[in-house]
Every structure is written in structure tokens, then in C-alpha cells.
């Protein structure tokens, strides 16, 4: 005997719907207010102040990228350092969203009071070597609890595990529809981080319902073993 569904829909479904509406409202406002003055927008080629080195960065540090490249000069870009591997000279960094509501399951609501560090995009987290981090200013710190929560979501995404119940209300709604405007947002976010951190090792975000083995209705048939590398010496 299975538990029957509630006639009003499940609590999680209603919450996801509300989260999606809130995010779409922000997205729409962002599109409406988007035409901004570009006059005098400058990229700092020779920084007068000496940039801080990533060597001193610790786990939980929040940094603001200096406007040293066009994407970093287009808006303030904040990153969080989630993990530092001193031996490998690597660190795991994740950018903050420009929106106040999490867009997808891989985004975590951090603190409500500060707009630039409200939502952390863990789907866009990547490993960089310390020397690969562009010039920045240290601007705050995440608490150990905030870092731990972020790591749980990040690891869950990598392993496919469900979001823990206590964090469920802090992540965004699932992304399923191929025409969802959140795909555009994801592409934007990925683009600027790729431009700032070209050497980084990024994670590929999949739609939440995306099956690994069967095709979507709109897709053509995949070529048999198309992903297989050609053997050396037999390519034409």
C-alpha cells in the first residue's frame, strides 16, 4: 500500500514552485534593468596597488576580483574559497550569484543580509592553482559551518546523492525543462568564470532529470560509440 498524494500537492513541490517564481521575478527584473551605462568602463591593465597573492588565502575566505579583465570590470565578482590544498598548491573556489534566490539545486542560500554573498553557486565551483587566481581583495569570511554546508552540497552533486533534509530549504528548484531561462543564466555565469579562471577544472552541470543513458525527445540518435577515441595510426 503506497502513501497517497496530498490533493494540494507535496510541500516540497509547492516550495520549489515558489522558489522558481521568486528567481524568475529577479531574472525578469535583471533583464529589464539590464541596459546600463557603459561610459568610462575601464579595465585596469597596470594595477597601482600590488595585488594580494593567493598563497595567504585560507578556507572560507571571500574575495572580490579586481577589475583586471573585461568580465571582472563588468560587475563586482565575488568568490569563496572552500578548500585549500597546500601540498598540491590548489584551491576549490565557487562564485557567488548576482541573484538573491538560488536558481538550481547546486546553489545554496548563505546569508540573507549581504547581497553580494547571498547565494553560492556550487555547480560552478572549480579547482584552481593558487597562482591562477586573478588579482583580488579579501573582503570577508565564511564561517566553518557555512563552508561545511557548501561542501556537502558540492560533494552531493558530484556523487548524485540527495540534498540533506536540513539544507533542502536553502537550495534552488530542480532544473528540468530544456527551454528554461536558467540555462541562459548558467551559460552566463560559466562564461565569466571561464574568462577569469581559464586554467580551472570545472564541473559539468546536468539537468536534474537528465538520464545518462537514453536520449531526449528532441535529440538525434547518438552515433554508436561516438565517444571512443580513434586508434592511433588508423585515422584517415
Amino acid at each position: 500500500m503506497k502513501t497517497p498524494p496530498s490533493p494540494k500537492g507535496s510541500g516540497r513541490g509547492v516550495r520549489n514552485r515558489d522558489k522558481l517564481r521568486a528567481w524568475l521575478a529577479e531574472w525578469r527584473a535583471d533583464q529589464l534593468l539590464g541596459e546600463h551605462e557603459a561610459a568610462g568602463a575601464g579595465v585596469v591593465l597596470g594595477l597601482r596597488s600590488r595585488p594580494k597573492t593567493a598563497k595567504g588565502l585560507k578556507e572560507g575566505a571571500i574575495v572580490l576580483l579586481q577589475p583586471a579583465c573585461p568580465v571582472a570590470a563588468a560587475r563586482p565578482r565575488y568568490l569563496a574559497v572552500l578548500n585549500v590544498d597546500a601540498e598540491a598548491d590548489e584551491m576549490l573556489v565557487a562564485p557567488f550569484s548576482r541573484f538573491g534566490c538560488p536558481a538550481v539545486r547546486g546553489e545554496l542560500l548563505m546569508r540573507a543580509d549581504s547581497l553580494p554573498v547571498r547565494v553560492l553557486c556550487l555547480w560552478n565551483a572549480r579547482r584552481v592553482c593558487a597562482s591562477g587566481l586573478p588579482p583580488f581583495w579579501k573582503t570577508g569570511r565564511l564561517t566553518a559551518k557555512e563552508v561545511a554546508d557548501a561542501i556537502v552540497i558540492r560533494n552531493g552533486m558530484a556523487s548524485g546523492a540527495a540534498v540533506p533534509k536540513q539544507l533542502e530549504h536553502r537550495v534552488g528548484p530542480p532544473l528540468q525543462h530544456p527551454l528554461d531561462p536558467r540555462h541562459d543564466y548558467i551559460a552566463d555565469e560559466r562564461h565569466w568564470l571561464n574568462a577569469c579562471l581559464p586554467q580551472a577544472d570545472a564541473m559539468q552541470l546536468k539537468r536534474d532529470d537528465e538520464p545518462s543513458s537514453y536520449l531526449l525527445a528532441a535529440e538525434g540518435k547518438a552515433q554508436y560509440r561516438a565517444d571512443r577515441k580513434p586508434r592511433r595510426g588508423r585515422t584517415r
Binding site: 503506497k2 517564481r21 534593468l33 568610462g40 575601464g42 549581504s114 570577508g140 528540468q176 525543462h177
Partner: protein, 237 residues
């Protein structure tokens, strides 16, 4: 600063055909910018000011570049302000088009994950049939005070209502005690018979069974002929 802030607010209001959040005084605009953009209470939490000034240094016209940087920051602050202050206008209808036009436009509802289970409706029907059978079985064991208590609940009358006390032939404390025992009996019966089911399913079955018992009690009281006052109350159902 305030001029840019209010220009953005007006722009949003005009384009969304909403009344917007009204004119925001200059002091409030600056306060909003400071409080929204600062991270913590330390001085380095206001690094966005360094970002604006560093960005302006690279430009030929310092003043307009400074203004441009500030406006870029301000746009996010205005969006946050609109989210907080004009929430009814800020809401997006589920039927609102997200992409495309006409009958094939993509709406917000299309983007929401469908959480319904095809097996859920069958399970609900199965549960209702089971509850109906259980109610029929348990209705035969109900005492008079228990039946009256169920009718009182259905009529949303308190147990101390004179028609209820007269129909039960006892005072409200006895009716309340009978009601409590009857519910306990139903819970125990279902718990015993369906202990392998999860708690949510058992809870749902208890509620459906009590609904069935309530129907049976009303029918019983109607068929048995009750006092005129009670009959009048039952007639309202």
C-alpha cells in the same frame, strides 16, 4: 546616486505596468547601497568601493567612469529593493510566458517539476475502499455516546450543546471520554492490522475511517428518529 536609483525603479514600474515602490529619498538610497553591499562589519567588507575607484582609474574620464561603476553596483541593489518592497508586483504568475508567444509559449508552470506519481491515485482509491470496509465493520460496535460525539463533530457543535447532551443522555465530560476512547480504538485496530505500513499511510487510513464512521453515525441517527431539535440540526447537513 538617488537619481539613478529612482530612474531604475521608474523603469521597472513602467515596463511591468506596476505602480512601483514610489520615490526613494536620497538618504535611503545611500543607506540601502551601504547595507546591501557590505559584507560583515569590518572595513574590508566594503571592498566594492575599491572596485569602483580602481575601475575608474583606468578610464580617461574619471568622473563618468566612477559614476558608471557605481551604477553597475546600484542596479543589483535596486533589484533587491524591488524584491523586498514591491513583492505583489514582483511575483510571477504561473501562467506567465517565459519564452515564446501564442498558445505554444512556455509558461512558468511548464518549468515546475511534476511530482505527481501515476501510482498515487490508485493507492488513494485503494485506501478509501479499505477505510470504507473498516468503517462498516467498526460502526456496528459504536456506543450511543460515541455516535453522538461523531455527529457533534460533523455538525461542529460543542459537546456541551444541550441537543448533544440530550441525545447522548450524558454530560459533556462523558461524551468527550467516549469520543477519546473510540478514536483510540480505531487507531489501535489500524495499528495492529497494518503495522507493516508507514506512519503516514496509517494516519491517512485513520482519518478516512473516522470520516466513514461519522457518515455511518449520521445515517444511523437519521434512520433511528431523533428529537426534533437534533433532527433539525441533522437536516442542515
Amino acid at each position: 546616486m538617488a537619481a539613478h536609483f529612482n530612474r531604475y525603479v521608474r523603469k521597472y514600474s513602467y515596463r511591468t505596468n506596476s505602480t512601483g515602490a514610489g520615490h526613494v529619498p536620497a538618504g535611503e538610497c545611500v543607506r540601502r547601497l551601504e547595507s546591501s553591499m557590505a559584507i560583515g562589519r569590518r572595513r574590508d567588507g566594503k571592498a566594492y568601493k575599491q572596485w569602483i575607484s580602481t575601475r575608474a582609474r583606468a578610464a580617461t574620464d574619471d568622473l563618468s567612469a566612477y559614476e558608471s561603476g557605481a551604477v553597475l553596483v546600484l542596479r543589483d541593489v535596486v533589484r533587491d529593493y524591488l524584491r523586498q518592497e514591491s513583492s505583489p508586483h514582483f511575483m510571477v504568475s504561473l501562467n506567465e510566458s517565459v519564452a515564446g508567444v501564442g498558445p505554444h509559449a512556455l509558461t512558468v508552470e511548464d518549468l515546475v517539476a511534476d511530482e505527481s506519481e501515476p501510482g498515487g491515485l490508485t493507492a488513494e482509491r485503494e485506501l478509501r475502499e479499505l477505510a470504507s470496509r473498516l468503517a462498516g465493520e467498526l460502526a456496528a460496535t459504536l456506543q450511543k455516546a460515541e455516535r453522538v460525539a461523531l455527529v457533534a463533530r460533523r455538525l461542529e457543535l460543542p459537546f456541551h450543546h444541550h441537543a448533544i447532551e440530550r441525545a447522548a443522555g450524558c454530560r459533556r465530560s462523558s461524551i468527550s471520554e467516549s469520543c477519546r476512547k473510540m478514536v483510540g480504538r480505531v487507531v489501535a485496530t489500524i495499528g495492529r492490522r497494518y503495522k507493516s505500513e508507514d506512519a503516514d499511510t496509517r494516519r491517512r487510513l485513520v482519518l478516512l475511517t473516522l470520516g466513514g464512521l461519522s457518515d455511518a453515525a449520521v445515517e444511523n441517527m437519521r434512520a433511528g428518529g431523533s428529537e426534533p431539535e437534533m433532527a433539525a440540526l441533522l437536516g442542515a447537513l
